[in-house]
Structures are given as C-alpha cells and as structure tokens.
C-alpha cells in the first residue's frame, strides 16, 4: 500500500524490538465479542489511475460554472479566484500542518491568521475578529449565542425574515435546546426588514436584533434606522453578510453601531465547491472579547524580542474551560481563511473596489435588461448590490428548462423558501458573468 511505509518486515521488527508480543496480544484489550468477524464490505481498492478516472467520471456528471454560465448566488458566489491562491495554499507547510500549538514552528500559520483577523476587522470595521468559524450560517448562530451570553437577562433574539433561510434554520438548531427565543421580523414591501414592526415589538427582553446586510434579496438594509431603535433599548445589533464582497463598497457594519458582525467569507479565495468548505467571519467590539467564540491569534515577542504570534485568550476556549467555554469550536476553516487573505491581498485597495464596482455595474445592467422584458419586473424597489429579485408570471420550470437549453443556469426560485414569493427569482451576477451571458439570458427570458 503506497501510503503505508510499514512492510511486514518493518512491523515484525518493531514488534520484536518492543517485546510487546504480537499484535493480537496487544489487541486483547478489545473484547473478542466485538472484534472484526468479516472483511469490511468496501469496493476493492483502486490504484491511482483508476481512481482519477472514477473521480473524473463523477465530476463530469455535474454542471460547473466555467462551462455553464450561472446566475445563482444566495450564499455561494461564483467569483474568479486567481491562480496564485491555490498554488500558495497548496504549500505543504500550510496545508499539512495543524492548529499552531507550537508557535516557534508555526509562525507561518499564525502570522497569516493575524493578518486575516486584521482583514476581517478592516472589512467589517469592527475592533476584533476571530480566526474563522465554519461558515456564515453557523457564525450567525454563534453570534446569537454570544449575544445571549452578554445579555444575561434578555432571552429574545429578533431575526429578520430577510436573512438567508438556511442561516435562520441553523440559528434555530443551535438555540433549540437553550433558553433562547427566536422571533422572526417580517420584511416590508420594499424587501427590507420592517422597521415599524421592530419599533413596536422591541422590549427589555430583546437581547439582540439580527439582520442581513445586504439582505437575502440583495438589498441594502436600512441599518441606520435599525440602529436608532436598538441602541436606545440597549439591544445588541448583529449583522450577517453572505456576500462579503459587498463590504468593499458599502459602509461597514461598525459604522451603524453593530455589536457583532458575521459574514460568509467564501467570496474571497474559496470556490463554491457545492457548498463547502467555506468560512465564517466573526467580528465584534473590543468590549465583548471575553464573550467571543473561536480562536484568536495575538502579537507578542520571542525571547530575543522579535515580533511573533501566538494563540491567545484561550481561557475562553473548550480545551481550557471545557463546559464553561464560549463555544465548542476547535478545528475551524483555517486554510479557507488563508485563501481568503491571499485573494484579498492580491486585490488590495484598488482591486477590491474595482471588483465590487464591476459586480454592481453588471448587476444593474442585468436588472435593466430583465425588467424591460414583458412579464418580468423588479420585485422590490430598493438598492441592491449584485443580487436582486425578479417577479414573473411565467412558469419558472419552463424558463429554467429553456435557459438550460442555452447552457445557462438561471436564478433561484424563491417559492420553496418563501411561499409568499411564488414567481420570484433571485438573480446573482459577478465579475465572471459576461455581457454576452446577460444578453443571452434576457433573450431567452424574453422568448418565454
């Protein structure tokens, strides 16, 4: 077996030298009643070439966005990832290492995470960010738990219905067994969280209010108005973002007094990958550090006074605090965070702006093209970034079939998530979308 260097002779030599007796003797600790009776029923082992052929076959049974233009977004975004990213994360010193427990030989990972934390702070405007959560959805769930920890006396959390349905579902799962009541805030006719409802319903028992920014419909929420309600009530304000790229263009959550800002980070450096691995960004204000979940890297010096980095403030974490930890998270999405940092470093100030601007430009163009078509209209009259909702009275099934015939995957039908939005489609456009793809899309829709 090519992955196991121990030949029979090696093993025998070790057993003999150790004097432990045979493997069977070692294994007497495993009661014979539960020992292997027959071989595992697995397919016969594949050699490397046959494996690649098998995997290629599976891969080719999927549509993929380099060959098929896609207008799907909704939490996973088809952005272009420069070749540099993958070639650097493949450096085995990064990808075959584990959690940097031994800082003297882990400065690569540690400094990269420290820089990642800084990037997340810069993007969100917050004071401090952790070294990543599993994804945007679980990051929001952790934010809710954290808000509950901070607000010991309040147990209601308001979450906007314009937050990604899977994020909301994840929050429900995480909070189901705990003393937390999740209350859904409706959205209004413009697709924004209903401010009036919030004003009416907020009370002393409201620990936090969570909205998505831009929200699931691509809309830039009225953060200012929300903040003006939560702040006087001393309710925490949580913002979640699925499209981190938007934060390159719109005002950061911090500027609206947000207490905890979470985001999906996939848009930078990580492929859609059929839904994962992605990564959760998690940032907060300094005052909340001790209540924060997840790993943190901090700056320090070595014995010679040289600047270096270590895991720090781990008294919040499970391996020290056990059942009193702020979270049970241990392994996170470190390599995805590295990819995020590399991509965003390549972009830099100018590239980030340019990429966001390109997304906006193409999205606005698409909006205009589609809404000009007979039978299609813009559902919500609010400003959006690179996603938006279109309403049509045509049969969605047929539309999508026709689009596929033109090698286009259309937007997401919203009905299954929002029964009230039957006939609505969420479209997404990125810098990978070509004008010609959009024109084709409009042409096909026009012919439906």
């Amino acid at each position: 077996m090519r992955y196991i260097p121990g030949t029979d002779d090696d093993l025998k030599a070790m057993i003999d030298e150790a004097g432990t007796g045979s493997l069977d003797e070692i294994l007497t600790q495993v009661p014979s009643a539960i020992r292997r009776e027959s071989a595992l029923d697995l397919p016969p082992a594949l050699d490397e070439l046959s494996l690649t052929r098998h995997m290629k076959r599976l891969s080719s049974k999927n549509a993929e966005s380099d060959s098929t233009a896609t207008f799907l977004g909704a939490g996973a975004y088809d952005h272009f990832i420069p070749a540099v990213v993958d070639q650097l994360i493949l450096r085995s010193e990064f990808f075959t290492a584990y959690t940097p427990y031994q800082p003297e030989i882990s400065q690569g990972t540690l400094q990269a995470i420290f820089e990642f934390q800084t990037y997340v702070c810069m993007l969100t405007g917050m004071d401090v960010a952790n070294a990543s959560m599993y994804d945007g959805a679980s990051a929001l769930a952790e934010a809710v738990l954290m808000a509950r920890r901070i607000k010991r006396k309040a147990n209601k959390i308001f979450i906007s219905r314009a937050v990604h349905p899977e994020y909301r579902e994840t929050v429900l799962t995480y909070t189901n067994d705990l003393d937390i009541e999740i209350v859904e805030m409706p959205y209004d006719a413009e697709g924004k969280t209903d401010i009036d409802w919030l004003k009416t319903n907020i009370d002393a028992n409201t620990a936090a209010v969570a909205v998505q920014y831009p929200n699931f419909f691509g809309i830039i929420e009225d953060m200012d108005a929300i903040s003006k309600i939560t702040a006087p009530n001393e309710t925490l304000f949580i913002s979640a973002t699925t499209e981190a790229l938007a934060l390159g263009l719109i005002r950061p959550p911090s500027e609206f007094g947000v207490d905890i800002a979470v985001s999906e980070g996939q848009s930078f450096g990580n492929p859609m990958g059929f839904g994962g691995p992605h990564l959760g960004l998690f940032a907060t204000k300094s005052e909340h550090i001790r209540n924060m979940p997840g790993r943190l890297v901090g700056e320090t010096t070595d014995l010679d006074g040289k600047r270096g980095y270590v895991l720090t403030l781990s008294t919040r974490e499970q391996h020290i605090r056990r059942e009193k930890a702020t979270s049970n998270i241990c392994s996170n999405q470190s390599l995805c965070a590295l990819a995020f940092a590399i991509h965003i470093s390549l972009l830099g100030k100018k590239g980030l702006w340019q990429m966001a601007e390109t997304n906006l430009t193409l999205a606005e163009y698409t909006k205009k093209k589609i809404s000009a078509l007979e039978g299609f209209s813009i559902k919500f009259a609010s400003a959006t970034f690179n996603e938006f909702v279109i309403k049509t009275d045509k049969a969605l099934k047929e539309i999508n079939k026709k689009l596929l015939d033109s090698n286009i995957i259309g937007g997401l039908s919203l009905e299954s998530f929002y029964p009230e939005l039957a006939g609505c489609i969420l479209f997404c456009v990125t810098e990978k979308t070509r004008k010609q793809d959009i024109d084709k899309l409009a042409e096909v829709l026009g012919g439906c």
Partner: protein, 492 residues
C-alpha cells in the same frame, strides 16, 4: 560579538503584509465587462457608500507570492517530517486527493444548481454515507458537520431530540475525565449538565462508577474509544448495557477511529451515535487548523433526527431528502464541507478493506513500539499495551526542573514537531504521542533517539532544554504578554 549582533539583525521576521506594498499597486486584473462603469453613488443610497479602508494594502502579485511563500517557510507540516501530535492523527495526506478534489465538477458546482445537474456530487455523497456506515457499523450518516466538535454538537442534539421524542429530554451527560474539551463544551451547548466520571487505575472507565452515577436524568455518556490515553475502553459492552438499561444513549467521540478501522466497529459495541473526523482518520489535510469534516453515524433509532438534507438514491438517480419532520434542522449552510468529503471518499476507495485494516493495525504497532522504547526514559503512567497512541509524562525529568514544555521545545531543535502536551488532563505533564501508520520506522526511530537524547540532556544539560528551541527562526514566544495586552490585529 559584533558578528553575532549583525547576524541577529539578519534573521528579521517577515513584515506584516500591511507593511508591504506601495500606493496604487494591484495584484489582480479583472475582465473588461464592456459596459460603462456605473457610478456607485447613483445606486447605493446616500450614506451607504463606504470610504477608503485605512491601512488596506496595495500589492502586486509578486509581493503577495513572496509574502506567503516566506510565511510558509516558517511553518512545519506533515510533509516536513514527523508530526506525532496525539489525538490529531497527523497522517500523510495523499497528493492525488488534492488533484481530484480540484476537478471542476466538484469545485465549480453551485450548491443550489438543479439536482439533475449535480448527480455526480450526489452520488459521491450517497456512496460516502454508505462507506462510513459500513466502517462504523452504524447505518445512518450525516455528512453535514464541518468538524469533530460540530459533529459532537449534531450528535448530542440528535440524542436530545430522541429523548424528547421518548418523552423526557433529560438533563445530564456523563463525561469521563480523559475526555477532550470539546465533549463537555458540546454538552453545555446542548443544554446539558456535565457529570464527570473518573477513570480507574487502568486508565479506563469503571462500569461500577457508571452504575453509581447512571440514572433516568442521564441522557448519554460521551466517551472516546480508544480513549485519549490511547487505551481501549475494555468495559464498553458492560458500560453500554448499564447506560442503555437506564434509557441512556452512548455517544462515541470517534476522533481515535484510526485505531479501529477493520478491527472493530463502534456500532457493534453498543454505540448509538459516533462522529468521525475525516481530517484525522480519513487523511484529509489539516490545513493549519481546518477545514475538517465531522460526519455523524447513528443507529436506526436516531435516524429520524438527522440534519436536513440527507442524500437518497432512487433507482439510478440521487436526490436530497429534506422531508425529515423530526430532524434537528440544519447545523450549517448547504451540505457540509463537500470538498473534504471528496478527499475522504477518494482515500477510502484507494485503501479498500485491506488497506484500512492495515492502516489501523500498523498504527497500533507503531504506538506500542514507541511506548516500549521510551518507557525506560520517561514515566509511563499506564504501563500496558496501548492502541494507536501512548501517553508519557515528565515525572522523571521534573526533579531536574525540566518540564514537558521544555522537552517539547527541545524536540523542535531536533527537527521534530512535538507531541500533544498537557493533555489528557488526567496525566500531569502529559506527552501524548500518536505516530500514525504513515510514519516510516526510520522516522520513528530517529524520534525515539531524540527523545532519549533529550532525557539524557535533562540530566546533564537541563538549561539547554529550558533555552530550547534555538535551531529554528524563532525562540520561545511570550504567551503571557500576548494575553495580558491582547494585540489581535495590525495597526499602523
């Protein structure tokens, strides 16, 4: 002296990326979209356009490549050498898995693209569910959890849901003192009170202790098998009987499954719920701390509570099943760390039954070999055959004032990654060594030689150990300072 001083300056650290670059550099180029750029101010509502991000770098491609290349050179990975981090199963990560995981149909598939256009991915997930079920002996599997701790949470929520369904959610979870920190943390997250259980003088759980604490309020015992001392919970059958009799369930932390593949199935031991760490047992890369994947395997009784969706096969096609009315719901967006699933699937296909069994058997032999070679030089708290890892302590060296930390740092000088230290907590000054099956005997011997040399140095040159490491680019880092004045982001 002067020379020494100059040399010191030379070993400068890599600057933080925000200290690099210069104005107007860019490391990327985007397609020309052929439209006039929209004026963002015309679209974005007043007061919602962001200003310049202070401190954001401007770099060219070469700046970025150099920076991360050099950072990587400050790191140590499995490909660099022996990495015997106990409980982490730092086995070799097959390179072909990185190649196949990058096929476009895997990386460029959108999670919401139509199922008809995702049949390859669904097939892969369905097949992997089956393979893990077969290896674990537990028939139902969710691939959604993103890591081990996430799997624990998922599993414990399912246990709670099961008890709720039965009529009483119960309030307590039994957790042995050898357990990993994620176990109690998870239990708390699921609203349970933790009842600690001491392990006995053989390093395992005593059924009598369980008998004593087990009652109708105990939802489950959360054990690890083999446990974190590397010892098989030899009373597992008896324990399962006791717990089950009182209506409790058995949760097994499968982080140490690398000891058992093809040797024994948790499903056969009375385990009801088990999580696996694909980034340990199934060879997916650790990535500097993730992404991992923590599928959960459960018995038939627990199946209704699996997170949505699960993948089903209908004749020749595959689909997501969201129709699980008793499901605990979703624990993350989409379907799990799919890219990691691809690698684990490729690994299992490459190994087959014989390969997996051989992996576990080899891992066990190697751990015992190390234990026997080192026990003359280091205290071995539980002197009996172990499974895939062994735990020593610094008791012998303590008289010289040499601690586990010093031994670990000195190992760095010798070119090795240190073992896990100070865990499990039941062993004072623990040194937890897990070689894995992919470690050549030579590397193991070199490691043992180094450990023995260090034991000798501890007697003759204890200061050398306290000053270690000295052979790498950084000396010991001040963790106290880092925690006292937390500096968690770069600032100008």
């Amino acid at each position: 002296m002067a020379a020494d001083q100059i040399n010191k300056i030379l070993k400068a650290a890599e600057p933080v990326i925000f200290e690099r670059g210069s104005q107007k550099r860019v490391g990327i180029s985007l397609p020309d979209h052929g439209l006039e750029n929209i004026d963002a101010r015309a679209v974005i509502p007043e007061g919602y356009l962001r200003g310049e991000i202070k401190g954001f770098p401007e770099l060219s491609e070469v700046d970025v490549v150099r920076h991360y290349t050099r950072l990587s050179q400050l790191n140590y990975g499995v490909d660099s050498g022996f990495y015997p981090l106990g409980s982490c199963t730092m086995k070799y990560n097959p390179k072909i898995n990185e190649t196949v995981a990058r096929y476009a149909g895997f990386t460029n598939a959108h999670p919401y693209q139509p199922e008809e256009l995702s049949q390859g991915n669904l097939e892969l997930m369905f097949e992997l569910q089956g393979l893990l079920a077969e290896i674990s002996g537990l028939p139902h599997v969710t691939l959604q959890p993103a890591a081990g701790a996430h799997g624990e949470m998922t599993g414990m929520m399912m246990i709670r849901a099961c008890h709720e369904k039965r009529g009483n959610a119960r309030s307590k979870v039994l957790i042995p003192d050898t357990a990993h920190g994620t176990n109690p943390a998870t239990s708390a997250l699921c609203g349970y009170k933790v009842v600690p259980v001491k392990s006995n003088e053989r390093g395992v759980i005593d059924p009598q202790d369980i008998e004593r604490v087990m009652d109708e309020e105990v939802a489950a015992i959360m054990l690890t098998n083999p446990n974190t001392l590397g010892l098989f919970e030899e009373n597992i059958i008896e324990i399962a009987r006791i717990v089950h009799e009182k209506g409790g369930l058995i949760y097994c932390d499968g982080a140490n499954m690398n000891a058992l593949m093809g040797i024994a199935k948790p499903g056969k031991m009375g385990v009801d719920v088990l999580h696996l760490n694909l980034h340990k047992t199934f060879s997916t890369p650790h990535g500097g701390g993730g992404p991992g994947s923590g599928p959960v395997c459960v018995s038939a009784e627990l199946a209704p509570y699996l997170p949505t969706p699960v993948v089903r096969k209908n004749n020749t096609t595959y689909s997501f099943d969201y129709n699980l009315p008793d499901s605990i719901g979703k624990v993350k967006g989409f379907y799990g760390n799919f890219g990691i699933l691809v690698r684990a699937y490729a690994y299992i296909l490459s190994m087959g039954d014989k390969g997996l069994e051989r992996a576990s058997r080899t891992a066990v032999i190697k751990a015992n070999y190390i234990k026997e070679r080192l026990k003359k030089y280091y205290d071995l708290p539980y002197d009996r055959p172990c499974m895939h890892e062994c735990v020593l302590s610094d008791k012998t060296q303590a008289s010289q004032g040499v601690k586990t930390l010093d031994i670990a740092k000195r190992l760095i000088d010798y070119g090795f990654h240190p073992p896990t230290i100070y865990f499990p907590l039941v062993v004072h000054g623990a040194i937890m060594i897990e070689p894995t099956e992919t470690e050549p005997k030579r590397a193991i011997d070199e490691f043992c030689d180094a450990m023995i040399a260090i034991a000798k140095e501890a007697e003759s040159l204890p200061d050398l150990l306290k000053e270690a490491p000295q052979n790498v680019r950084f000396r010991r880092l001040d963790e106290v300072k880092a925690a006292r004045e937390p500096k968690l982001r770069w600032e100008k």
